[in-house]
């Protein structure tokens, strides 16, 4: 904040105060006036505004921090932002409680007990960094560079990733953000339309759509502010909404048509829809002819998938299936086929499902038009060479990436392969993990397996803000500064309302927390890695801003944000795709080259064994993964999750709403206790809980053992054959009430096309 600006603000604060006094007590009597204390504006009024960027989740909304007497009192949306304006979500509003959380990691720590025990001694930054550097060198010398692996996520992880890259390991990035979340969708769209239409962001123009399809997307339960705003604007403008979901989600409550589909059969529905619109001529012939390749292959491949075939598989009525596709077709090409985000559902078939969503958009011509998938608008910024680290590492003789999954290297090393290699030494040993910005034990399937792998490591360290499970298992913990305490980067937003902004500190770092840049630079020094040439992040930011003709100062004078004109749509005659063929690929040649299906096929995922239901999961709008469960305000808002159980099933089982139960899965893993939510809003063959609860870290004093963790009953997974992501919806559970294990009644007949999962052996009372 510049002095001049501060004075200006102070002046306006005085004016407001004067206005209050002039109006006397007409509407209220300020407490100060009657108590005789010096007058001060109430609430956040009169605070100093500092523009920055949120990181309570990774959508990164522009914010202003409101500071009074050096203390952050409130966070609001940056009014200059065309994406969120003055609004922020529940989490954005609660960033203050991350900053001032008494449970924060305050100092560098060294493990003194067993791994996982969370017993630590406070050490100095020098000791901590020396120890990390020493172990990295030792492992690299003994086992070679690929024995080092880095699990990364979010802004805090970026600088340290450069170190691992420079060290020469192919495992310098293993983002659960891809391998446990968006990877299959990202790959599908990269190959179909030539850009990642669903990755960190979703380039889908719901705002201008005449119809919207959500397949398992829970907008409103999953809150990314500008995304929700555009969805709502679309609905307000009269867009029809079709929601396909085994659970009656928040958007299902707003839908014109809701299809309660059998889990695992979404691709069957999509293929039958494609066949229907091709047969009835309800597709955009001109768009397909001029801009797509592979139409004939699609037409041929989907012939066998009729609506009558799909109905019993999806457990939907043929009329409803037809009604939905007609509703969507009528709006073409202004139809938003949402590309999905979290896509690691069943392993096999995940990339294909999102490819099918892409093909449907292509058949409707809903690409590069208002209301459809749109193109990113690159925002001009310069490149700083300050943090340029290493060449692309050499691939080992047998790589954990493409030697297993042909498209893995697009995203890094599959987390499941890193864990396996750490456990078995095959195809080469992995002996050291660095972790930054991700709580791997509450993110990656089969945490028991992950813990076994950690026990075998020579060394494990993390940079963390909170004492998460991952911190508990680390040898050294480096306390990171929160997003409110640091400069980070120039953030360019390339969606419908492009802008450029900068994250800058709202307050000074608390305790001994340090910025990710400082930590990476200090660690690099100790490893003789010369890739951080400047002294601080501000230098990088200034360099990057030059590309837009800006400086930090001029940006600040602009309210911290500069807008740009969007270029999301294309003239159909001049439509180029950045794919191998230059066209939109309805049939993907690159997949065919790797002997993978170039056009999606329906591969059924096994149905629950008798007595079990499929475990599905989702989000609550007040939490981000497991990161915010200990935030005092957010914890208070939604302290524990509930288990959704179908009312008819519950009735047959003699279970009532609010009762406390546990889950036991097919491998005998048990959840923490969780309360039942008995509702008609979920199919009888599935149970649902919100992800992120059931913390196992005692040092998260508010979150510890609140609710149940889905992750600890997700022990079985399959990998996506295209890119190696691991599945999360392939686990089956029964309900434990007191000492009894209750079978969940079989209320949804399974057609012969879908095999049932075969239990290996009946196990009970196992891991917890």
């Amino acid at each position: 904040m510049k002095r001049r600006k501060f004075l200006k603000l102070s002046a306006s604060a005085c004016a407001a105060l004067a206005a209050l006094e002039l109006q006397g007590n007409s509407m209220f009597r300020p407490a100060a006036a009657s108590t005789g204390k010096p007058a001060m504006l109430p609430g956040s009024l009169g605070a100093k505004d500092i523009p920055s960027v949120c990181e309570m989740c990774f959508w990164r909304c522009p914010i202003v921090g409101k500071v009074k007497n050096g203390r952050l009192v409130k966070i609001e949306g940056n009014p200059k932002s065309p994406a969120n304006s003055t609004t922020v979500c529940a989490r954005g509003n609660s960033g203050i409680q991350l900053l001032y959380d008494p449970d924060r990691m305050k100092y560098p720590l060294k493990r003194t007990g067993e791994r996982g025990e969370g017993k630590w001694a406070r050490i100095s930054w020098d000791e901590a960094l020396d120890e990390v550097a020493h172990n990295i060198k030792k492992v690299k010398d003994k086992y070679g560079p690929h024995a080092l692996a880095y699990f990364d996520h979010g802004a805090s992880a970026e600088f340290m990733r450069g170190i691992f890259k420079d060290l020469g390991t192919e495992n310098y990035t293993n983002e659960p953000a891809f391998f446990q979340c968006v990877g299959p969708a990202a790959l599908a769209f990269l190959k179909t339309v030539g850009y990642v239409a669903s990755g960190t962001r979703q380039y889908i123009d719901m705002k201008n759509a005449k119809a919207i399809l959500l397949m398992g997307s829970h907008i409103g339960e999953n809150v990314h502010v500008s995304h929700v705003r555009e969805y709502m604007e679309g609905l307000q403008n009269g867009a029809k909404l079709v929601v396909v979901d085994p659970r009656f989600s928040a958007p299902a409550g707003k839908a014109d048509l809701y299809l309660p589909i059998r889990p695992g059969t979404d691709t069957a529905l999509l293929l039958a829809w494609m066949n229907f619109i091709i047969e009835k001529g309800l597709y955009d012939r001109e768009f397909v002819q001029n801009n797509c390749i592979g139409f004939d292959s699609v037409k041929e491949a989907v012939k066998k998938y009729t609506i009558e075939w799909a109905a019993p598989i999806c457990d939907l009525k043929p009329d409803e299936i037809k009604k939905a596709i007609l509703m969507l077709a009528e709006a073409r090409p202004h139809v938003a086929i949402h590309p999905g985000r979290h896509a690691t559902w069943y392993g096999r078939g995940d990339t294909s499902r999102h490819q099918a969503l892409g093909i449907l958009a292509g058949l409707f011509g809903a690409v590069g038009v208002p209301g459809g998938l749109y193109f990113p608008t690159p925002v001009k910024k310069a490149h700083s060479e300050c943090a340029e680290c290493g060449e692309e590492p050499e691939t080992p003789v047998k790589s954990l990436q493409d030697d297993y999954y042909p498209f893995a290297s697009t995203f890094g090393s599959p987390t499941s392969k890193i864990i396996e290699a750490s456990l078995t030494g095959d195809p080469y040993p992995v002996r050291l993990w660095g972790i930054n910005g991700v709580n791997i034990l509450q993110t990656i399937p089969n945490p028991y397996h992950t813990m076994d792998a950690i026990r075998k490591l020579d060394f494990i360290f993390c940079e963390e803000i909170m004492p998460t499970e991952t911190a508990m298992w680390s040898d050294i913990v480096l306390p990171g500064a929160t997003y409110l305490e640091r400069f980070d980067a120039v953030y360019a937003y390339d969606l419908l309302t492009p802008y450029l902004t900068v994250r800058q500190p709202v307050v000074k770092p608390m305790f001994e927390a340090r910025s990710p840049f400082w930590i990476a630079r200090e660690l690099a020094k100790r490893l003789d890695i010369d890739c951080f040439k400047c002294n601080d992040v501000e230098e990088i930011i200034e360099e990057e801003l030059k590309g837009a003709g800006l400086t930090l100062k001029s940006l600040d004078e602009n309210g911290g944000l500069v807008k740009f004109k969007a270029n999301p749509y294309r003239d159909r005659k001049d439509l180029k795709f950045n794919t191998s063929s230059g066209k939109m690929e309805l049939s993907v040649e690159d997949f065919e080259d790797e002997d993978l299906d170039p056009v999606p096929e329906f591969i059924p995922t096994p149905a629950p064994p008798e007595g079990y239901a499929r475990l599905i999961y989702g989000r609550v709008p007040v939490h981000t993964f497991t990161r915010t469960m200990n935030n005092q305000w957010l914890n208070n808002e939604w302290p524990e999750n509930q288990l959704w159980l179908n009312d008819k099933a519950a009735g047959k089982m003699g279970l009532k709403d609010g009762e406390e139960v546990q889950l036991e899965n097919q491998d005998g893993a048990r959840s923490l206790p969780i309360k039942l939510k008995v509702t008609p809003g979920i199919r009888p063959d599935a149970v649902y809980m919100a992800h992120g609860y059931g913390s196992r870290s005692k040092q998260l004093t508010k979150a510890y053992e609140k609710g149940a963790s889905d992750q600890f009953v997700i022990t079985m997974y399959e990998n996506d054959p295209f890119m190696g992501a691991s599945s999360h919806r392939t686990n089956f559970v029964r309900i434990v009430k007191g000492k009894k294990i209750l079978d969940i009644p079989d209320l949804c007949p399974v057609p012969p096309q879908i095999p049932r999962f075969q239990l290996k052996h009946a196990k009970t009372g196992g891991k917890r």
């Binding site: 504006l41 929700v228 957010l634 008609p680």
Partner: protein, 245 residues
């Protein structure tokens, strides 16, 4: 004369809780008290189909506020001035009162004796007794009149990500709240037994407003209806009143 009022559009509301947290931040409302809340309703079967909606709640700044009539603090005479016309009126008020010009129900904190009668009287559970203070005081939503004076919107309105909260003067015939309320499409949380003229209105799909009124409209304020965190307060308040007497 004005009557500040809010219309919450449940079609727009996605149940994200931003309103509740912005209010907490703005007024440093200590956990577990709340002036502003979101409750999830359903998914439940209604006569209009399956509904999954929300109850975003706050003080209703009622026409006939029960919390005001029960306040036992010694009355004082105050002069209120209409910021628009400059007109003044004299009014005798206890510690909590309804502002004659804005229609907001407010509390003069320095005169609140912390007895909790108002907390108990409110059929919406919109008040709390702040025991974080050495000298506990009743507290609640003020419709952010403090912020209005400074030209700001109420905190919950300013942060609402889908612009589901419409705020204004119900008496102003040109206001959006007036337009919506006059259209007859908005519902209030009232019942045959309890109707004290709440000034928070809700619009939305019929199934959703139906479920909202069915589950959240106050009836007789029975002990079973008092939510657990408030129960303790009600008991404490009763004790305190005994002591005062």
């Amino acid at each position: 004369m004005s009557q500040l009022a809010m219309v919450i559009d449940l079609k727009r509301c996605v149940g994200c809780h931003a309103c509740a947290l912005a209010c907490r931040a703005e007024w440093a409302v200590p956990v577990p008290y709340r002036r502003n809340w979101v409750r999830r309703l359903g998914p439940a079967s209604t006569s209009h189909g399956l509904s999954y909606t929300f109850y975003p709640g706050l003080c209703n700044h009622c026409d006939d506020p029960k919390c005001v009539s029960v306040c036992p603090a010694d009355p004082v005479e105050r002069v209120f001035k209409d910021p628009k016309s400059g007109r003044t009126v004299k009014k005798t008020i206890a510690a909590t009162y309804k502002d004659p010009f804005s229609g907001a129900v407010l509390i003069e904190k320095d005169r609140c004796i912390g007895c909790g009668s108002c907390v108990e009287a409110c059929p919406y559970g919109a008040r709390y007794l702040n025991e974080e203070l050495d000298d506990p005081k009743a507290d609640k939503c003020t419709f952010c009149v403090e912020r209005l004076q400074a030209g700001e919107k109420p905190a919950c309105v300013k942060t609402c990500i889908t612009e589901a909260r419409i705020f204004g003067d119900l008496q102003d015939r040109t206001s959006e709240v007036h337009r919506i309320v006059a259209s007859g499409k908005a519902v209030r949380l009232t019942s045959k037994e309890v109707n004290i003229g709440p000034n928070v209105y809700y619009t939305g799909l019929e199934k959703d407003t139906h479920l909202l009124v069915q589950e959240c409209a106050p009836h007789e304020r029975k002990w079973e209806n008092v939510r657990a965190p408030v129960r303790r307060q009600v008991l404490l308040a009763a004790l305190k009143r005994l002591k005062v007497k």
